[in-house]
């Protein structure tokens, strides 16, 4: 059962998310676009109206992908932290993102147009993330030490990076440029037509996660205890990891690699809600992750006249001190 305080917290987060989303839509001072224009851009779109084009092609997709990427990466981080019982696990640290990156690089640098299409990139990112996720799971069965697992993750990340570098060396300059730019991370590459696909995939993955809440709660107690509670640990660990990898793959395909969200937000949620109930944590991660990335993007837009900072760099700037704080708190 959730405490009253947590209900209040959720209420506050929902209100904050709505306010921040509104502000995100109107914050840019490049063009003044009202909320009515945004509404009309969706329901009464006129291609000849500049405001409609701006809202439909820039503001709305940017907001939606910020919400989905923040929520998705946070949930993905929560899932990996639970199955590896390690608060420093996340798709980035474990090399899952590197797997997605390697697969996308292979596709983009191959020159095959089918692999360079949106669907091609999503499929490749998901496959790459899942393969590296399963590799991590495989190695985890031999390793008892959490630190060793993290090192294996870092090694997988380096391995993926090295193969990508070799692929780049053998590719055409145009392909290399496309891949390198994708690798810097961006919330502005998504267009309006892709939103339905992204949102439906995200909702489906979150819906699937709901079926694994019981397993996630049991896994906190350890594998032996979970089995005693009737959980099919091996099967469910694979399913959870596939979900985490698919979420990371989906986000990575559309935004490039975004660091620290998957690591910092699940820890922040545990600190805020003081619970191990994964239903509460799932909702909390969706809300806090979305809020975090929307705030990051608002700040980026506010300072863009002075300095342009890529989203990946910005999340790292904010996330790194928080992760150091977690490490000090846990191991001091």
């Amino acid at each position: 059962m959730m405490s009253k305080l947590n209900y209040w917290l959720f209420g506050g987060l929902v209100i904050a998310l709505l306010l921040l989303s509104w502000y995100h839509l109107v914050v840019s001072d490049v063009n003044q676009i009202s909320l009515a224009d945004h509404f009309n851009a969706v329901f009464d779109f006129q291609a000849s109206k500049f405001e409609h084009v701006m809202a439909r092609e820039f503001r709305i997709p940017r907001l939606v992908i910020a919400l989905i990427a923040g929520a998705g990466l946070a949930v993905s981080g929560m899932l990996t932290q639970t199955i590896f019982r390690n608060p420093l696990s996340d798709p980035f640290v474990l090399g899952i993102n590197a797997g997605a990156g390697l697969a996308v690089a292979t596709g983009m640098l191959s020159g095959f147009s089918i692999l360079q299409s949106n669907m091609g990139i999503i499929t490749l990112a998901t496959i790459g993330a899942s393969v590296f996720g399963l590799l991590i799971l495989f190695f985890s069965s031999f390793l008892k030490n959490n630190a060793s697992l993290l090192i294996v993750g870092i090694m997988l990340g380096s391995f993926g990076g090295a193969i990508t570098s070799i692929a780049q060396y053998l590719s055409t300059p145009e392909s290399i440029k496309s891949y390198m730019i994708w690798g810097l991370g961006s919330l502005q590459q998504v267009n309006f037509n892709q939103i339905a696909l992204i949102v439906s995939t995200f909702v489906a993955l979150i819906f699937c996660t709901l079926f694994l809440i019981k397993s996630l709660n049991a896994l906190i107690l350890g594998e032996a205890q979970a089995e005693l509670l009737g959980i099919r640990v091996k099967r469910n660990r694979v399913l959870i990891l596939l979900l985490a990898s698919s979420l990371a793959g989906l986000i990575t395909a559309f935004c490039g690699p975004i660091a620290f969200v998957g690591l910092a937000i699940p820890n922040l949620c545990r600190m805020l809600f003081r619970t191990q109930n994964h239903l509460t944590l799932l909702v909390a991660n969706v809300l806090v992750g979305a809020i975090f990335l929307v705030i990051c993007d608002i700040l980026i837009q506010m300072i863009q006249t002075t300095i342009h900072i890529p989203i990946n760099a910005f999340t790292s700037i904010l996330g790194a001190p928080f992760v150091i704080f977690i490490i000090i708190k846990r191991w001091s």
Partner: protein, 368 residues
């Protein structure tokens, strides 16, 4: 000790007084007026007959970063001088290769970049015959490979940080020469660097003749563009992640666009860097009616869309007036610096299709 100390002080005073006899400013003033170069800002050449003084300048540092005296063969120079023509040099950029190619001076070349970045067939042939060593790209050149090539001089693009292992190479008698042609703002300034290659290879007469021809053709084309009444609006650059980098005022490209008779949208926007930065929203709102898009960095519309879908909202993308040299980048990087009149000709053909007699593009192509 005391007599020794006073002797030392006396010597220092004598040296100082000798130096004071020739005020430094006067020397600089005289030198600058004798500079052979008219357009280049990063290179000075002073031809005193038997000795030729070379100075390479880095504008950002505001300093001369390389200075030497070229001594024609069989004369004795000081320890800093170079006997010319030099025979074994490594050229580590496509532009340098292009300059040497224009002078037909490949026999002075001992090593160069990876042949996948080379356009010139003759040079590729020499590399295949192993008459010229093939090194990796400039940033990834192996020092050992460079030494093994027998090169005595290394020409490298000056990014303000010197060449890797420059000090070690110096100990082995290998001189590293920074080349700052890429920082020149005037297209003719970039081309004028051919004089450096001319003096280094003993082909200064040919270099001067080539440059005079380039200058004449460039200015002739510029006059034709000047006479055009209508100046089409244009934008340049592309998105890199979420930032659009466009040439700033006083940049090499902005100059070319102006000389070609175009109305470059950001012609008056200054920056401490050669480019200005814009968000895609800014670009779209400031270019609602811009007619031409130059240098998107890709050779097909498909590649542009794959790289940044939202650029397809630009007016020129819809009307098809997008032009780039990306279909043959090696050709462009090798020849554009030494053939700025051809670059200008292409741009005039793009902006004023009827201003010149029918002909083909040298570097550019319509992006389809």
């Amino acid at each position: 000790m005391k007599p020794k100390l006073s002797l030392l002080v006396c010597l220092l005073l004598i040296v100082a007084s000798c130096q004071n006899k020739k005020p430094k400013k006067e020397v600089e003033k005289e030198d600058v007026s004798a500079n052979l170069l008219q357009y280049a800002k990063n290179l000075r050449i002073f031809d005193y007959g038997s000795i030729v003084k070379i100075e390479i300048i880095n504008q950002e540092k505001g300093a001369v970063i390389f200075a030497t005296e070229l001594v024609r063969e069989k004369r004795l120079g000081n320890s800093n001088s170079i006997n010319v023509p030099i025979k074994k040099m490594a050229a580590l950029s496509a532009t340098q290769v292009g300059m040497l190619g224009k002078l037909k001076a490949y026999k002075h070349l001992s090593a160069t970049i990876d042949k996948k970045y080379i356009y010139d067939k003759d040079l590729k042939h020499f590399i295949q015959l192993k008459k010229i060593h093939e090194l990796a790209t400039e940033t990834g050149v192996s020092t050992e490979q460079l030494i093994a090539s027998g090169s005595k001089f290394v020409l490298y693009d000056d990014f303000g940080t010197g060449f890797t292992d420059e000090d070690k190479l110096k100990q082995l008698g290998i001189t590293c020469i920074p080349v700052g042609d890429w920082q020149e703002q005037h297209p003719l300034g970039k081309a004028e660097w051919i004089l450096l290659y001319g003096y280094l290879t003993g082909k200064e007469k040919e270099a001067k003749a080539i440059f005079l021809m380039i200058e004449k053709n460039y200015n002739k084309l510029k006059e034709i563009a000047k006479k055009q009444k209508r100046k089409p609006s244009l934008i340049s650059g592309n998105l890199i992640t979420d930032i659009w980098y466009a040439p700033a005022k006083n940049s090499y490209n902005a100059r070319l666009f102006a000389d070609a008779g175009g109305k470059y949208v950001y012609a008056n926007e200054t920056s401490s860097k050669p480019s200005i930065e814009k968000s895609m929203e800014q670009i779209l709102s400031e270019n609602k009616k811009t007619e031409i898009w130059i240098n998107p960095g890709f050779s097909s519309k498909k590649a542009i869309k794959l790289h940044a879908q939202k650029t397809s909202l630009l007016h020129p993308f819809k009307t098809g007036k997008v032009y780039c040299y990306s279909h043959n980048m090696n050709l462009f990087w090798e020849r554009s610096a030494i053939e700025p009149h051809f670059v200008l000709e292409d741009l005039i053909r793009i902006m004023h299709p009827k201003a010149l007699p029918k002909g083909k593009f040298h570097f550019y192509k319509k992006v389809k």
